[in-house]
């Protein structure tokens, strides 16, 4: 009940003309970056970040989170109409969304996607409303060892569930940690890892890394794949939209299962991309019309879209209540919180009630705004896709350069960004996950501080990580997740050997 009251209070903050206008602007910008192939939610949000420094934190987070919703929706538009995923997390939507649209039912495909996306987002927000303050309350009792254990668990689950190549995830994560360590050490005040470059004393901003890794890296990948926009008709028939949404509840099993997958993957830092693929796979396995998958099966659109959005939304739960972002975009937003002078984590729920509940309320409103706007603007953004890539690419380059520069008016940042661009290209090309790298840059310092404080408390004994049941459970769970891929690989090798011989 207390949560409901707080939420209602949040609505009084979020429901002002000023904030509604910010939502509209945020969602439209979000759809734009979602639609454009070289830009995505993480670097879209980091591009906006420097522009929010003068704003109230509530207004700033509403703008940024609305952009996130818009980007999630925008990614689906291009997946369905052009077979080009605007976002990595909407790749799975192309499997059935594009065939359905191509077969003359673009309105049905779009409405199915947006309807299930809205449902997924709603489940995510409800989860946050119910759980966030409870988790925060529990976390208030956390000391440094508990914090380190939670960070450890987050990183371990990346490696354990992050995909096919655990060692590549580990490299990505550790490189992020090393980058986070560059600059002045907060505990001892000494300069670390500046490799003789004086300017590196200020450290490397995550915004610069995101801009290069996602922005430039994505462009280089896109130019190679030669994006050819061959659109199916992008006219929206409103009657069909409403009929499709009315038909959605019939797919309740897929909806609920996908939302559950999404929430789980969002809270543990599996992220929306992994969630949508996993959910698509599950939907196919349990479907009675397996043979229709890939040919425009509604369940094949519902599953990835619901999971994508519920994961994207619930990724904000650990960010708000624990200070651990569940996705790359959440990591960027958390970086923003720290820049605005807020301390992400459980104390936020006590010291910044207006901020937290204003944000949560804005998530309900922002998603409604997003659904309406995305339906209204489909023809406009579809037209944008017909602008040739060779015109869009240099513009995105300029936007990234300006974005990296404006973080701290530093030319070094621009050069670093170009370097990160090459790293991003190589990593993408070779299936190294990039989200762990960004996550580690944002929270690497905090994890290290928690570790060093714990060591101070215990006078150098690792035993402190097993000193009570909570820490011990978290650490053990983390270790299990770390060892899991190794075990799986060993077992997989044994069973795969005969297959390799053919």
């Amino acid at each position: 009940m207390e949560n409901l009251e707080a939420l209602l209070h949040g609505f009084t903050i979020a429901l002002s003309w000023h904030h509604l206008a910010l939502m509209v602007v945020g969602v439209l910008l979000g759809i734009l970056v979602g639609v454009l192939p070289g830009l995505g939610a993480p670097n879209g949000v980091s591009l906006l970040l420097p522009l929010t420094f003068g704003m109230q934190p509530v207004s700033a987070i509403i703008l940024l989170s609305s952009m996130y919703w818009g980007a999630l929706f925008g990614g689906s538009v291009t997946s369905i109409l052009f077979n080009i995923p605007g976002e990595p997390s909407s790749v799975a939507t192309t499997f059935d969304g594009y065939p359905m649209a191509r077969d003359g039912k673009p309105s049905t495909a779009l409405a199915t996607a947006f309807g299930s996306a809205a449902f997924g987002a709603l489940v995510g927000v409800v989860l946050i409303t119910v759980l966030a303050s409870w988790v925060a309350q529990a976390a208030l009792a956390f000391g440094p060892p508990e914090y380190f254990a939670v960070y450890f668990l987050a990183f371990a689950s990346f490696i354990g569930m992050g995909g096919t190549y655990p060692m590549k995830t580990l490299v990505s994560l550790a490189v992020g940690f090393a980058i986070a360590a560059i600059g002045i050490d907060t505990v001892s005040g000494t300069v670390r890892l500046n490799f003789g470059v004086d300017e590196l004393v200020k450290g490397v901003s995550f915004v610069v890394a995101v801009m290069g890794l996602f922005g430039i890296g994505e462009l280089l990948i896109a130019v190679e794949e030669e994006v050819h926009a061959k659109a199916v008709s992008s006219k929206v028939e409103w009657g069909e939209v409403f009929r499709t949404v009315a038909r959605l509840p019939r797919h309740w099993v897929t909806l609920l299962r996908s939302a559950a997958v999404g929430c789980w993957m969002g809270i543990t830092p599996g992220g929306p991309t992994a969630a949508s693929f996993m959910s698509y796979g599950l939907a196919k396995r349990f479907s009675r019309h397996k043979e229709n998958f890939g040919k425009g099966e509604p369940d094949g659109i519902i599953a990835p879209e619901t999971a994508d959005h519920s994961a994207g939304t619930s990724a904000l739960l650990p960010m708000l209540s624990l200070g651990i972002p569940g996705s790359a975009t959440a990591a960027v937003m958390m970086g923003g919180l720290m820049i605005w002078g807020l301390n992400p984590g459980p104390t936020l729920f006590i010291e910044q009630k207006d901020f937290v509940w204003g944000l949560i309320a804005s998530m309900y409103l922002g998603n409604i705004v997003a659904v309406i706007l995305v339906l209204l603007t489909v023809p406009i953004f579809a037209a944008l896709m017909r602008v040739p890539f060779f015109i869009i690419a240099p513009l995105i380059f300029i936007v990234c350069v300006v974005g990296a520069y404006s973080v701290s008016n530093s030319f070094l940042d621009v050069m670093l960004m170009m370097g990160f661009g090459i790293v991003g290209y190589l990593f993408k090309k070779l299936d190294y996950p990039i989200a762990p790298l960004v996550l580690a840059i944002v929270i690497g310092d905090k994890a290290e501080d928690a570790f060093r404080q714990s060591m101070l408390m215990s006078k150098g004994s690792m035993g402190i990580f097993f000193s009570n049941w909570l820490v011990a459970t978290l650490v053990t769970l983390g270790v299990v997740l770390l060892v899991l891929p190794l075990v799986m690989q060993l077992m997989g090798k044994r069973s795969r050997k005969p297959a390799l011989a053919e």
Partner: protein, 157 residues
């Protein structure tokens, strides 16, 4: 042209070298335990070693991954990559001299006309619009002063 295996190996070698540099550089900061706690270099030192170890694993496995013999980047791809990246690099290099606005305008013009045969008139319009848009959006609306470069200093802009 470049095989998947080659690209995997180069990337693993690069990350490994980075890890090594991190580990070596951290030794200066102290990598052990003192009465005032864990020394500043310990965490990065361990991180560096992890990077080296994981990179060594990736390097060793570069050849056995699925499709490792397949071509990762062909000549055509390399040309396209260069056509996109080299002008962008030139843009970055030109910023301290020409300033952000002028460099961007020149960059847009130089990419569109020779590479993609956009007519000179249209390209000119697009370059000018880009420079003005940058000024209006950043310098004017959001008060983020973009670099003017040596050219700007000479003109007193």
């Amino acid at each position: 042209m470049i095989s998947r295996r080659g690209l995997e190996s180069v990337t693993a070698a690069l990350t490994g070298a980075f890890g090594l540099a991190v580990a070596v550089s951290s030794v200066e900061n102290g990598v052990s335990w003192t009465s005032s706690g864990v020394e500043a270099g310990t965490f990065p030192f361990a991180t560096g070693l992890i990077i080296v170890a994981a990179s060594a694993y990736n390097l060793a496995h570069a050849g056995v991954l699925r499709g490792s013999r397949a071509r990762a980047i062909g000549w055509g791809d390399l040309k396209k990559l260069a056509a996109l990246f080299l002008p962008a690099l030139a843009l970055v290099a030109a910023i301290p001299i020409l300033g952000m606005h002028v460099a961007s305008a020149v960059y847009i013009f130089a990419v569109l006309v020779p590479q993609h045969h956009v007519s000179v008139g249209r390209a000119l319009v697009m370059s000018v619009v880009t420079a003005v848009a940058l000024y209006v959006l950043f310098d004017w609306a959001f008060q983020v002063s973009l670099p003017r470069g040596l050219l700007g200093a000479a003109l007193g802009f």
